[in-house]
Symmetry: C2
Subunit: 173 residues, 2 copies
């Protein structure tokens, strides 16, 4: 019976099912930063993806209620920092009630020649020029052309899954 | 010296640095399917993200060279299946040289009432209506409004990081 299923599905129920299903979408945790009007902003996120190698690019999804949304909408460039497994405290701080400068209180934050705030001991930092965006629902999708990348070793990123922080374990065998 | 750094950076070198930095972007592994012209297509991917809860939505990034690209560009709906930790073989098959129906040779693939091919024992399957897209570089970004979600327990997804398959390990303490 291939009928118009959108009529039959309650968006609130689908949203609840989506939240439940997304619990298994394991993700590295990043902190996105931008600078706007002389102020630094930082936000913990998992809605980030590699996009293209030509041009080198990544994308981020940002809620319209986030403090970064307005700066990003006005074209502010941004930096994506992949957290290391021991940086759960930074994730919690940059996802919490503290706003603005207070989110930079923990971690080895530095300023790049381009003016981006970046976390020097993150697993990797991607310095992005804000080149395109698309609004959808409650969120904006922002595409960043990657201008420069810093990374650290060994690789052991913070991973978020099923509401918990953890790390990557190599498959046995 | 905040000058126009894009002039100073070789895109090929930046792409190499991006690839290296992305090794720490741990990700769940998904297989995206769509149906078009009576044929099923499947593709392993990690470039997927949750987007909005209102409307319930996700996005995927698909290379223009992928067999799914043309169907998706023509508006084909799609299904995102999060693989479980033991489904590395399905990931390899759907990322490899086999095309079309041959990619469905392994796994408990079924057909939904909507016509989507889905993996019945995946961690979660998100049935999406293809509602918007944006081209960027070598890729297309496709937004799916989530119509229905199936999920299985326990939660133990396949995770890809630093070129290897593995799983999630809870942080000690």
């Amino acid at each position: 019976m291939p009928t118009d299923v959108t009529v039959a599905h309650d968006p609130a129920l689908v949203a609840a099912a989506l939240r439940k299903g997304l619990r298994s979408l394991a993700k590295a945790v990043v902190v996105i930063t931008c600078r706007h009007g002389g102020q630094r902003h930082a936000m913990t996120a998992t809605a980030v993806s590699e996009l293209s190698m030509d041009p080198p690019s990544m994308l981020i999804c940002v809620n319209k209620t986030a403090s970064l949304f307005e700066p990003l909408s006005q074209g502010a460039d941004f930096c994506i920092n992949i957290l290391a497994a021991h940086q759960g405290g930074i994730s919690t701080l940059c996802a919490g009630r503290e706003k603005g400068e207070a989110r930079f209180a923990v971690g080895d934050w530095r300023q790049s020649a381009l003016g981006h705030a970046y976390l020097a001991d993150a697993q990797a930092s991607f310095f992005c020029r804000n080149v395109a965006n698309m609004a959808y629902g409650t969120h904006g999708v922002f595409i960043g052309e990657v201008l420069e990348v810093l990374d650290t070793a060994p690789i052991n990123p913070l991973v978020y899954m099923d509401g918990r922080y953890g790390s990557f374990a190599v498959a046995p065998g």
